[in-house]
């Protein structure tokens, strides 16, 4: 039947595309579990001749490298929490009220999302040095907020817009104020939205490279993306080490992604479809 033929074609296409698209990632994984001599072996093999955890152990037992992880986690978590709090309030304000300047404020926030980081980098560098925040985690936290916060606000506004205002009304009629409405009713319902926003914000902060490269200097202040690039310079040909560091460095995102897919995807599309 024509339908079945079509289905088979679709499966074949999807399998083929998945193999091609997924190959680089698979290769990275495959290369991370072998000794360096096997990396450029001819003919290349998908499965290592000698499977080993050696590269992973080398990374995890090196305090310098572990520090990269510590910094990345710390900065990403703080930025996410801070953005979520501020964005929840702002989102509530945008979602529940009509007020003078609302359109302008909304436009302002949408516009700030598109500022190129490189344009901000030079003034940030100057200001960070002046305020003695150079080579500090706080410096990174503040600068990361600049791009994490607008997105969080837009996402939280979007989510709150889907929650009916009757729930707020119920509290107000009882004589309560907006703050109570927000904390007792709206936020608990918005938890899926908060999780999605939090995951996406975490990812934005975790993956950031430019500010981390320029606004920190000493090895103990570096984050994972910068750390890996430094490794590239230092151990230029220890590919297995770099691949295992890459896998370890992507773990939180991979785990979040696999377990909270729907949140991830709604975060992805929220930015484009809603204004």
């Amino acid at each position: 039947m024509k339908n079945n033929k079509k289905k088979i074609l679709i499966y074949v296409a999807l399998i083929l595309i998945s193999c091609i698209v997924g190959f680089p990632i698979f290769w990275m994984l495959a290369m991370s579990f072998r000794s360096n001599v096997e990396i450029f072996k001819v003919p290349p093999s998908l499965i290592p001749e000698k499977f080993t955890f050696e590269p992973y152990i080398e990374i995890l037992s090196n305090t310098e490298y572990l520090n990269f992880f510590k910094n990345s986690y710390f900065i990403a978590i703080i930025v996410t929490l801070f953005s979520l709090v501020v964005a929840s309030f702002a989102g509530y304000g945008f979602s529940r009220f009509e007020f003078k300047g609302k359109k302008l404020s909304n436009l302002f926030i949408v516009a700030t999302q598109t500022i190129p980081p490189i344009s901000l980098l030079i003034p940030y560098f100057g200001l960070i040095v002046v305020f003695k925040l150079y080579n500090t985690r706080l410096g990174l936290i503040l600068t990361y907020t600049s791009f994490c916060l607008p997105y969080s606000i837009l996402m939280m506004t979007g989510y709150m817009n889907t929650i009916p205002t009757e729930l707020d009304e119920a509290i107000l009629v009882d004589g309560g104020n907006r703050i109570v409405a927000l904390f007792r009713v709206i936020l608990p319902i918005a938890v899926p939205g908060i999780i999605a926003t939090g995951i996406y914000t975490f990812m934005l902060a975790w993956n950031e490279f430019l500010f981390a490269l320029t606004l920190t200097k000493s090895i103990d202040m570096r984050t994972i993306p910068v750390g890996i690039s430094l490794l590239m310079g230092e151990h230029a040909y220890k590919w297995n080490l770099m691949m295992s560091m890459s896998i370890l460095g992507s773990l939180p995102l991979l785990i979040l992604y696999l377990f909270a897919q729907k949140s991830f995807i709604s975060g992805l599309s929220a930015g484009s479809i809603k204004g």
Partner: protein, 301 residues
């Protein structure tokens, strides 16, 4: 419950009216501080000489902008950025559209979920990791050269990122791989929003698969395509990490982009003022694109 009734008292009723501004004030203040203030600074820097380096920079007006106009590297970077952005976005849209169509087909839902997971994967990894990954893949002794030779497509071991002519195409390829998931997911969501009765009506009129796609799917998706297309253009135009970590703008200037050149001017040559001028140029271009985007979003409402 006693607490609630306090607000009905007129002395506190202003709290009920002032609320909206209180809610958004922290956010707006933070963003003004973190974004508007530095942007003003960068404009300021571009109009003076020797910013950041000396305490009292001297006013030079538009000198740095004129310098850029006579700078061959600037033009090469501009051209490269435009080429890079154009091809990246076009192929993001094409691949994103095709993959979204495939993922929207009525096949087993569980299988669809697995395929979707794999197809979104490239987007999850940070630029540094994507860069290292592909440097390994495209190494002259790497697997891609090996496969291409085995398949008879090429006869030697190409340098890819190390070659004047292949570096930019290689970069574009990596960026296409990395960036299509965003478009794909957005288009997929859009596809799922198209009403099926449109397709049914077309079938009654005798339309085949191709015609359905051309006459219904694409027109219905046009707002989303434009939306994500402009967003992707903005993001690609200002991209830095991927380029910096694969080619660093080289070899020579063959992959120099506006963003990498700005970085080099500021942090390798310490010409902060000239770099600021370039940063302002990038900002203006991106802002014009954003204006476009916002205007288009408004039309959607």
């Amino acid at each position: 419950m006693i607490k609630f009734s306090l607000l009905n008292n007129t002395k506190y009723s202003f709290l009920k009216n002032i609320n909206p501004y209180l809610f958004i004030a922290p956010a707006i203040l933070i963003l003004l501080l973190l974004l508007v203030f530095p942007i003003i600074k960068v404009f300021q820097f571009s109009l003076y000489n020797n910013c950041i380096i000396i305490d009292k920079p001297e006013w030079v007006g538009l000198k740095h902008f004129y310098d850029l106009l006579s700078d061959t590297i600037f033009f090469k970077a501009f051209t490269n950025t435009v080429i890079f952005t154009f091809f990246s976005v076009i192929f993001h849209l094409i691949l994103g559209f095709i993959f979204a169509l495939l993922l929207n087909q009525p096949i087993n839902n569980k299988a669809l979920a697995y395929f979707r997971i794999i197809l979104i994967l490239p987007w999850i990894f940070t630029a540094t990791i994507v860069a290292i990954n592909w440097r390994l893949l495209l190494d002259p002794m790497g697997i891609i050269n090996y496969l291409l030779n085995q398949l008879g497509i090429i006869n030697s071991y190409l340098e890819w990122f190390g070659s004047y002519s292949l570096a930019l195409p290689a970069l574009i390829l990596v960026n296409i791989w990395r960036g299509y998931p965003f478009i794909m997911v957005s288009l997929l969501a859009g596809l799922q929003g198209i009403q099926s009765n449109l397709y049914e009506a077309a079938e009654v009129d005798g339309a085949n698969e191709w015609q359905k796609i051309i006459y219904i799917t694409i027109p219905q998706l046009k707002p989303i395509i434009l939306s994500v297309g402009v967003l992707d253009t903005i993001w690609t135009f200002r991209l830095f990490p991927l380029i910096w970590l694969t080619t660093g703008g080289g070899p020579g200037n063959s992959t120099e982009m506006l963003s990498t050149y700005t970085y080099k001017l500021a942090f390798e040559q310490f010409k902060f003022s000239k770099a600021s001028a370039l940063a302002v140029v990038i900002l203006v271009v991106v802002t014009s694109l954003s204006y476009f985007y916002v205007k288009q979003q408004k039309q959607l409402e």
